[in-house]
């Protein structure tokens, strides 16, 4: 299981004027850079569960731990707005599109729509 840590993000960010970017835009940008993107907090156990779910399916998600980002709080708030929930994490994007939190991911897996989505995004090869 591999996933990018905050280091790579930290590495990525200085190339842009990060302070000018709207958090939502940053989220969108980050989400489109990998097939499966998950925003987490390091202590969050549900985030761990979501990670395990994807890894169990053979998917390698890109994980961003918001508590290791200097502007993580903003992103958290943006995610809360996007999700319409009081908890920002875990937030799952597949193919650049927001899927939702753990409940939406599980629901889509149960009703059989998750696997096609993953295949479409190139995260799963049969």
């Amino acid at each position: 299981m591999q996933y990018q840590t905050a280091d790579s993000w930290g590495f990525y960010v200085p190339m842009r004027s990060r302070n000018m970017e709207d958090p939502l835009e940053r989220v969108a940008k980050l989400a489109s850079e990998s097939a499966v993107v998950i925003f987490t907090l390091s202590g969050c156990c549900m985030c761990h569960a979501v990670k395990r779910l994807f890894c169990g399916m053979g998917v390698n998600p890109t994980v961003y731990e918001l508590d290791h980002d200097p502007r993580g709080k903003e992103i958290e708030r943006a995610l809360m707005r996007l999700l319409g929930s009081s908890s920002a994490v875990p937030a799952v994007f597949i193919g650049g599109k927001l899927i939702g939190s753990m409940d939406r991911v599980m629901a889509s897996h149960i009703n059989g729509s998750l696997v096609p989505l993953l295949k479409e995004a190139g995260a799963l090869w049969l």
């Binding site: 549900m46 569960a49 779910l53 399916m57 753990m102 897996h109 149960i110 009703n111 059989g112």
Partner: protein, 502 residues
């Protein structure tokens, strides 16, 4: 008079402080017994014979139980039986009283002068064969008796007011008549003949009165038990509303939160609804309803399950540990408990064999459902494991952790449990909805019936398990013993209706 004095002494004993009575053994046992009996007889105020004695003792016993105050006069081992043995001879003794007494009897037969009626009735008994009479045939006894009766009159009136007995007074008046008549007959010369007849009649009356009194005593006991029951129910209601723990389900006898108690009640109601839904399903299938009609019933069953998941969500917010420890469900179900409920993949595994016939596509769908639910369960379990690990680290604490801070952190982590139970319930709900989607209406109806019956059997198994005969029942600690019994009672009362189907 010596006897008089002693009579008074024992009288005072047998009056307000009955429990002292047995300490005083004035003369012979006969006399003591006599004292006892007369008080009862006066209480009755009716014919002084075996039946009256019996009924007085029975009622007095009932009254004492109701008062919960004193030990009955005849608590000495075997005393009641012994005194009962004495009854047949009891009336006979009085027959030897001098004629003078009968006059006093005659004077006061009008209203409720129990005292004099008693003595008059006593006099009219004609049987010279009493062993007691041989012992105590002195007129002293008679006088003493009457004094005692007089002094006890107050007490009797009180007692008869306490326990409203219209029966005995009726008996009294009814018995009075024959007694009155017999009073005249008693003075005839052919005593042996009359004595035998009278004795037989008296014994018949006794028997009748005995059974009437027993019935009355029983009814009185029932009444008092009923009152006690309503009181207990009110207490229970009050305590429940205050969120106290009653008839508990845990050996540690901890408190159950009000949210948990409320959920338990709602769950019990849900179980009743479940039975109703199942019988609807069964009836719908047997009646070969159209798909449209059956769909309504099936969708109703799905909503029924949606409801319990909603209720569990509410309960999880206040008391998630109640759900995860499975205290809301039966012991057998607890065996298979996963994150506060059933494991979806286990359910599907159970269903696969029961759902034949299925199309190939349906079979694929079911297997795929089983597979994805297994993956989701695995993910949630691993997430929970991490939570537990984190909690262990927090509780164990590091070298420089402040106790209060540690607890606050631990509480925060424990609160995450709610999220996992919510997700698990979400998974269960999604699985049921997916099943509904894969199957036809009829198949879905059969499927849900199978599910309902399966869990019904599991609950029945739990009840049977709880009530199976065991050798080791009593343990050292009273508390845990009591709660074990209560648990069984609670469980069997909760789930006894599941036997209705078997």
């Amino acid at each position: 008079m010596a006897s008089h004095t002693i009579g008074e002494t024992s009288l005072s004993d047998s009056g307000p402080s009955n429990h002292h009575h047995h300490h005083h053994v004035p003369y012979a046992a006969a006399l003591h017994g006599m004292n006892t009996h007369t008080s009862f007889i006066n209480q009755e105020g009716s014919a002084f014979d075996f039946g009256e004695l019996e009924e007085a003792i029975v009622l007095h016993g009932v009254k004492i139980r109701n008062d919960e105050a004193k030990a009955p006069l005849f608590t000495a081992a075997g005393r009641p039986a012994a005194t009962l043995e004495m009854f047949p001879s009891w009336p006979m003794r009085f027959q030897q009283t001098p004629r003078g007494s009968s006059k006093s009897g005659g004077e006061s037969t009008d209203s409720g002068s129990a005292l004099n009626t008693l003595s008059s009735k006593a006099e009219t008994q004609l049987e010279p064969e009493s062993p007691i009479s041989k012992k105590a045939s002195s007129s002293d006894h008679q006088a003493f008796e009457q004094d005692q009766l007089r002094l006890q009159h107050q007490q009797q009136v009180e007692m008869s007011n306490d326990t409203s007995r219209t029966g005995p007074s009726q008996n009294q008046s009814a018995a009075k008549q024959p007694q009155e008549k017999r009073k005249g007959a008693g003075s005839t010369s052919d005593k042996p003949q009359d004595a035998k007849t009278l004795r037989r009649l008296a014994q018949n009356r006794e028997a009748a009165r005995k059974s009437r009194l027993r019935k009355k005593a029983y009814v009185q006991q029932l009444e008092s038990s009923r009152i006690k029951l309503t009181q207990l129910e009110q207490e229970l209601q009050r305590a429940r509303s205050q969120g106290l723990f009653l008839g508990g389900c845990s050996a540690t006898a901890g408190n159950i939160s009000s949210a948990a108690a409320m959920f338990d009640m709602e769950y019990a109601r849900w179980l009743e609804d479940d039975l109703r839904h199942m019988s609807e399903l069964r009836a719908g299938l047997n009646a070969h309803l159209s798909d449209g009609d059956l769909r309504i019933i099936v969708d109703g069953y799905i909503s029924h399950y949606d409801e319990i998941f909603r209720l569990k969500g509410v309960a999880a917010k206040s008391d998630v540990l109640h759900l995860t420890t499975g205290m809301w469900t039966t012991a057998a179900e607890r065996c298979f408990l996963w994150m506060g409920g059933f494991k979806p993949s286990d359910l599907i595994k159970m269903l696969i064999s029961q759902l034949d016939p299925l199309t190939e596509q349906q079979v694929m769908g079911i297997y795929s459902l089983q597979h994805s639910s297994q993956q989701a369960e695995e993910a949630l379990s691993q997430g929970l494991e991490q939570l537990q690990q984190s909690l262990i680290e927090t509780i164990a604490g590091g070298p420089a952790i402040d106790g209060m801070q540690q607890m606050v952190v631990a509480l925060g982590k424990l609160a995450n449990l709610e999220g996992f139970v919510r997700q698990a319930d979400n998974l269960r709900q999604q699985t049921l909805h997916r099943l509904r989607h894969i199957l036809t209406v009829r198949q879905a109806a059969r499927c849900f019936l199978v599910i309902g019956e399966y869990y019904g059997r599991l609950r029945a198994l739990s009840s049977l398990w709880a009530s199976r005969p065991r050798e080791t029942v009593i343990c050292d600690q009273e508390n845990s013993c009591q709660t074990t019994t209560d648990l069984q009672m609670v469980q069997s009362s909760q789930h006894h209706h599941h036997f209705a189907n078997y």
